[in-house]
């Protein structure tokens, strides 16, 4: 550094960017949804009719609200995992694979023994097994990063592309999870899990599919918030992510923190996958995780590292997804419109980091 004063003065002169960090996700969401409405209008479909169908799908009944919230639960968990890794400056884009592993192993646990366990353990054990499978999948990327310097974006992505065929294999192979061929069906999917392993419903009387995953997600949100913002571990993760050498000099075990961050991150994905199987789908198919990983990634991106942001983003996308499905069925507008909106949101937010990053260099 030749001129120590210049950098610090220049930095001090920058405007406060914090309002922007909130505004950018909001504005880009509004722009993307606006474009979505324009696209719907351009198809000649009735915009009001489409929005009506959309609303009905999101929140038109207790059942729809419950289904939307169930989607939001999984997205929130993946999003929490994303921001947990993000705290250590790691980008976990492997949510899809972590969900897949979690769902697959939760199914296996539920089908092989867990169903007979007493006292609610029947569903807790598969949840734990699924979480562990996801954690292992994420932790593997963390290990490769720490031990071999492998870029975690590429490794998590590759691990997803490895996990998806594994799920396919497990439901296609009779000596793995595939159900025996009966007269009725021979689809490559697992048998339905025992009733005891299904997650208890919160409101069993009114027909809402909303299950206790909501409580699990709520606890997870608070826990992640506390750990990231108010615990020594949160500071350490941040330090390691910002400057590994200085952290190492200060006595931190940097590799351990990288592995830990990715393990926890992957664990959230695994938990999400387990909850998807145990809460609503009840049997494993090869594409059960379809899209949730990337949606959860978008939720994590939108949140800018805040647990509250994850909740908002997860609710937004959970309801959007439900709405878009109904829109396609009732108003004949392709649900792909929502994909377009999601893509736009990601691109706009990523493109505006130049505004919100205090220091974009290096």
């Amino acid at each position: 550094m030749k001129i120590p004063k210049f950098a610090e003065v220049a930095r001090g002169a920058r405007f406060d960017v914090r309002p922007l960090q909130v505004m950018v996700p909001v504005i880009s969401t509004v722009i993307a949804l606006g474009i979505g409405v324009l696209i719907i209008a351009s198809t000649g479909a009735s915009v009001l009719g489409a929005i009506d169908a959309f609303w009905d799908g999101m929140a038109g009944s207790d059942f729809n609200i419950g289904a939307s919230l169930n989607r939001a639960i999984s997205l929130a968990l993946v999003g929490l995992g994303f921001i947990f890794a993000g705290r250590a400056n790691l980008t976990n884009v492997g949510g899809e694979g972590q969900i897949a592993m979690g769902g697959m192993f939760a199914t296996a646990a539920a089908l092989h023994g867990a169903g007979d366990l007493p006292l609610g353990l029947a569903f807790v054990v598969p949840l734990v097994v699924g979480t562990a499978a996801g954690a292992l999948w994420g932790g593997l990327a963390g290990f490769l990063k720490a031990a071999r310097g492998t870029n975690e974006v590429i490794s998590t992505l590759l691990l997803s592309f490895i996990a998806l065929p594994l799920v396919y294999w497990s439901v296609e192979s009779f000596h793995l999870l595939r159900k025996p061929i009966s007269d009725l069906s021979s689809l490559p999917e697992s048998p339905e899990i025992p009733d005891t392993t299904k997650l208890p419903l919160l409101f069993p009387d009114n027909g809402s599919p909303l299950h206790i995953g909501l409580l699990i997600a709520a606890v997870a949100v608070v826990a992640v918030w506390l750990v990231l913002k108010h615990s020594p571990l949160g500071v350490r993760l941040r330090a390691v992510g910002l400057n590994a050498t200085a952290s190492r000099r200060a006595g931190m075990r940097t590799s351990l923190h990288v592995v830990l961050a990715m393990t926890v991150s992957g664990g959230f994905g695994g938990l999400a996958g387990a909850i998807m199987i145990l809460g609503q789908q009840f049997y494993l198919t090869s594409d059960f995780s379809s899209g949730y990983g990337f949606d959860g990634l978008v939720v994590g991106l939108l949140s800018r590292g805040s647990a509250a942001g994850v909740v908002i983003g997860a609710l937004l996308f959970g309801f959007l997804r439900s709405g878009s499905i109904n829109m396609e069925i009732s108003a004949n507008v392709p649900s792909a419109v929502v994909l377009i909106c999601q893509g736009l949101i990601v691109i706009i937010i990523a493109g505006s980091t130049i505004l919100t990053n205090r220091k974009a260099s290096r």
């Binding site: 884009v93 870029n151 592309f161 990523a350």
Partner: protein, 307 residues
């Protein structure tokens, strides 16, 4: 019987490899310049759709190929603005584009073709070179390819020559390795990277167009099925070298084609394991357990002068 199956296997292996060869070759050059286009899959998908649409509308598959290249290059241009000029996270932008491309092509396909359309799309003709076909086993497989397949090998040669023997190639390598040094040598980092990304876009366009108007003569939703990711994987596995990348693409193509051969030969190998093989190999490669390829020093790192 076995010979016939081998010929089919080789033919389909090559056909599956060609789009990956196109995309990976362009992507290799772009990555040598320091920009990773995770959006490769999106570019291919957009191109496949544009090519199918144009070929269907005009009756000319060549016009389709041209349209595919134009559309993919346009996507690449936006990717370049974001990742070079706006210094956005290249990986996140890439994922965004892939979601956007999937949404856009799915939407337009349903709107334009309608969910039940089965109209045939004019496709490129096979070359059927008699002197090639006379070679035993591989002959029929080689001669049954379209001209575009041969172009893919040509592009590998062109890219190799560009990198090794031209000042543009030297600039690309310098910009991807040490942009600060390149900048001080008077090279425009931004211009070189833009050209690299556009090159990747144009080649991904050829690859995408190949899928719809040369290979399957139709468009289906999400028809690339992650071929773009596979191409990026091939670049890593090929150690950022054009010939090793080509070898990786062929390996991946034939590995994918095995899923048709294995059941025909009544071998008891799970198809799923064949599907994950390329990714597993690439993971092993980037973890540094095989291969000597070193990733370009400034890959995915935006350049900002001064500071």
């Amino acid at each position: 019987m076995i010979d016939e199956q081998m010929a089919v296997f080789i033919g389909s292996g090559l056909r599956l490899a060609v789009p990956i060869i196109f995309a990976a070759t362009g992507e290799m050059l772009s990555e040598r310049a320091g920009v990773l286009n995770l959006s490769l899959d999106g570019m291919m998908l957009m191109s496949a759709f544009a090519a199918a649409l144009t070929s269907w509308a005009t009756g000319s598959p060549l016009a389709g190929v041209a349209a595919g290249v134009v559309v993919a290059t346009a996507v690449a241009a936006v990717q370049a603005v974001l990742s070079v000029t706006l210094r956005a996270n290249q990986l996140v932008v890439g994922i965004g584009f892939n979601i956007l491309a999937l949404g856009t092509t799915t939407f337009l396909y349903r709107e334009i073709f309608g969910p039940l359309s089965r109209d045939p799309i004019p496709g490129l003709a096979q070359l059927n070179l008699p002197w090639l076909a006379s070679i035993p086993v591989i002959g029929p497989a080689l001669s049954s390819q379209t001209g575009l397949a041969y172009v893919s090998i040509l592009m590998v040669i062109v890219t190799w020559l560009l990198l090794k023997y031209t000042s543009f190639g030297l600039a690309v390598r310098a910009v991807g390795e040490d942009p600060r040094a390149a900048d001080k040598a008077g090279i425009s980092v931004a211009r070189t990277r833009y050209l690299g990304v556009l090159y990747a876009g144009a080649l991904a366009g050829l690859g995408g167009a190949f899928m719809s108007v040369a290979d399957s003569n139709t468009f289906t939703e999400n028809m690339t099925k992650g071929a773009g990711y596979l191409a990026i994987t091939a670049v890593i596995f090929g150690g950022w070298n054009p010939w090793y990348t080509l070898a990786a693409c062929l390996l991946f193509g034939f590995a994918t084609a095995l899923q048709f051969l294995v059941p025909a030969l009544q071998l008891d190998v799970p198809v799923a394991l064949l599907l994950l093989l390329p990714y597993l190999l690439a993971l092993i490669a980037i973890a540094g357990f095989v291969g000597k390829g070193r990733q370009p020093g400034a890959l995915t790192i935006p350049f900002e002068r001064g500071g």
